[in-house]
């Protein structure tokens, strides 16, 4: 389990994140939603270790993330940032390869590299310079890198629990690619990888997540089954939407949820 206990973060006296609790089970897809500036990315950076001076504790399996060895964390927890820019002419394949850096086995995992790059549909771009790819292609390359980092989970080498953090990883993708990518990510859940995704697009969350957490002004206002997204008063509160719009969103979310069972 990935557990945050009484996790908080503040700069000076201003809380960006009020103390909250969070649990991600292995194999679970959790979407983190909220308006801009609600603290979603801050929460994610606490877990990913970008932010160090947070209050409370974060546990992965039985390891305190603040104290466990770097390599252990890197081998079991992968993070997909919003955007990665490169001023140097690495090819897409070289970028993906860096996902194996914590393991040091770039040469012996060629089949995995092809597997993840085909999964995110970037295998045909492998020899192109990363910086010349479009925004969406770059995001898919980064996703392949991140998946490769914890791909051990899908093999007999799996040892312990694996987690994936996604920070609005579909923001530059068109709807078709958004769903392809999220489906690809979902396949990981079959291998008991727990996924925590910051999401911008409520509809995408409704079509994908098992559970959702709603943040507002650094506080967790609701957490539970994805059905929560069909509650129009909650949508209204979370995003400060007018009643009319909130109920429309709730309706469309219900449609998405129903279409999942078809």
């Amino acid at each position: 389990m990935l557990v945050a206990q009484e996790l908080s973060y503040r700069i000076g006296n201003r809380y960006l994140l009020h103390p909250l609790n969070l649990v991600v089970q292995p194999g679970e897809r959790v979407a983190l939603l909220g308006a801009n500036g609600a603290g979603k990315s801050t929460l994610l950076s606490c877990i990913s270790g970008d932010v160090r001076h947070y209050g409370g504790q974060i546990w992965m399996a039985s390891h305190d993330l603040a104290r466990c060895p770097r390599t252990y964390r890197a081998r079991h927890l992968a993070v997909m940032p919003q955007k990665v820019e490169l001023a140097f002419p690495f090819t897409a394949h070289q970028v993906v390869l860096m996902g194996r850096a914590p393991h040091g086995d770039e040469k012996t995992t060629l089949h995995w590299q092809q597997q993840v790059m085909e999964l995110t549909q970037v295998w045909h771009l492998r020899d192109r310079p990363y910086s010349r790819l479009s925004g969406g292609e770059q995001q898919r390359v980064q996703l392949a890198r991140v998946l490769l980092q914890i791909w051990d989970a899908t093999s007999v080498r799996a040892d312990g629990e694996y987690y994936l953090l996604l920070d609005e990883c579909t923001s530059a993708l068109d709807p078709a690619h958004q769903h392809t990518v999220m489906n690809a990510v979902s396949q990981l859940c079959q291998h008991h990888i727990g996924i925590l995704a910051v999401m911008h697009d409520v509809a995408l969350a409704a079509s994908w997540a098992d559970r959702v957490m709603l943040l507002k002004d650094g506080r967790m206002i609701a957490s539970g089954n994805v059905d929560l997204l069909t509650d129009s008063s909650l949508m209204e509160q979370c995003y400060d939407l007018p009643e009319e719009l909130a109920s429309q969103y709730a309706r469309s979310n219900r449609n998405w949820l129903e279409s999942r069972h078809l």
Partner: protein, 365 residues
């Protein structure tokens, strides 16, 4: 619009596709570099006011290795004048090139050359201050550190500037290259002015030394300096070699390197410190020699790509080779005068810098 930008590379190696492919093979690049080093070293040992044959040179080299006494004037020229100078060029060039690779990696930009961002001039200023003020204000310093006064001062000067540039040019894990370069201009101007003030305080002998400093020259290479320099450049280089993996990850950003399990602060601190040490000790012996850290990594990246596992060691080879070529040209071009090699390098490096700058501006625009 996309089609045209995709189909016309901004700038690339001349269109010789077969040769280009062949040139990109690492083995081939290594072969060319090693072969080049051997040939140019031999030529450098043969050329000069006293022309020597390759046989003489090889005999002298063998005598040096076996530790025999100096037997003739030609032997002396090779062993006491030219060989130290060749080794000095190789060491300083390798150090500057690797320092360039390291700073460019940490600042995440191919333009971040130690010379351009003011590290070299900071080191030179500290060195000049030691020369001029060693009998007055800095007496205690020169007594305390003895023969190492100059290299240590240069290292500290370089380190101070490096740290300052890091504070100035980087925030939130992002380097702003425009700020960095402009701050570098400011530092260069400041250090130049301070050096200018020092020239008014210097006597004749000091002035002559300083002129060589500001233009860069390898003419003062002696065996003693080479031994110290071998240590001060060799060790940092080995340390940088150990950090190539985190350096690769660092190119994608500090957060990503952290997610990949690397200790980002540790890596940056060591790389910048070692770069300052290599630049500082190079400056202490040979003065200001610019652009090696810019030209060498750039050309190598075009051939073998940006992977530091290959780029860093090959930069050491290519940096040594380039400085050796420049120095040999500088001292044989207009005999009997010995042009400062720093001027040669500026002539070679200036255009490459402009090219790179245009490439970046167009790439962004």
């Amino acid at each position: 619009m996309n089609d045209t930008t995709l189909n016309s590379p901004r700038w690339s190696w001349p269109r010789l596709t077969g040769l280009q492919q062949w040139l990109r093979q690492p083995v081939c690049v290594i072969g060319i570099l090693v072969l080049g080093l051997l040939i140019v070293s031999l030529l450098a040992l043969m050329q000069g006011p006293v022309a020597l044959s390759s046989v003489d040179v090889l005999q002298s080299l063998w005598a040096t290795i076996s530790g025999a006494e100096i037997s003739s004037a030609g032997d002396w020229v090779v062993r006491e004048l030219r060989l130290p100078r060749v080794l000095l060029a190789l060491l300083v060039g390798a150090g500057l090139a690797v320092a360039g690779v390291a700073t460019q990696g940490v600042f995440r930009n191919p333009l971040a050359d130690p010379g351009l961002i003011g590290v070299s001039s900071g080191a030179a200023l500290a060195a000049v201050a030691v020369i001029v003020l060693k009998d007055t204000w800095l007496q205690e310093w020169s007594q305390l550190t003895g023969p190492l006064a100059l290299p240590i001062a240069a290292f500290l000067g370089g380190l101070v500037v490096t740290m300052m540039m890091y504070r100035l040019g980087t925030w939130g894990g992002q380097t702003h290259i425009a700020t960095l370069l402009l701050a570098g201009v400011a530092i260069n101007v400041l250090a130049g002015a301070a050096t200018g003030v020092l020239t008014y305080m210097a006597d004749d002998q000091q002035l002559r030394t300083m002129t060589f400093w500001s233009m860069g020259s390898l003419a003062y290479g002696k065996w003693d300096e080479i031994q110290v320099l071998g240590l001060l450049i060799g060790l940092p280089m080995l340390l940088c070699l150990r950090l190539v993996r985190p350096l690769n990850a660092l190119l994608m950003g500090e957060n990503v390197a952290n997610h990949l399990g690397f200790d980002v602060q540790h890596t940056k601190r060591w790389l910048l410190g070692m770069a300052a040490l290599m630049v500082g000790s190079g400056v202490a012996v040979a003065g200001m020699i610019g652009f090696i850290g810019l030209v060498v990594p750039h050309l190598l990246r075009l051939m073998i790509g940006p992977d530091h596992r290959l780029l860093l060691p090959l930069s050491a080879l290519a940096g040594g080779l380039l400085l050796l070529v420049a120095d040999t040209l500088a001292r044989t071009w207009m005999p009997p005068s010995d042009l400062p090699v720093g001027l040669m390098m500026a002539l070679i490096g200036g255009p490459v810098f402009l090219l790179l700058l245009m490439q970046q501006v167009r790439g962004k625009g």
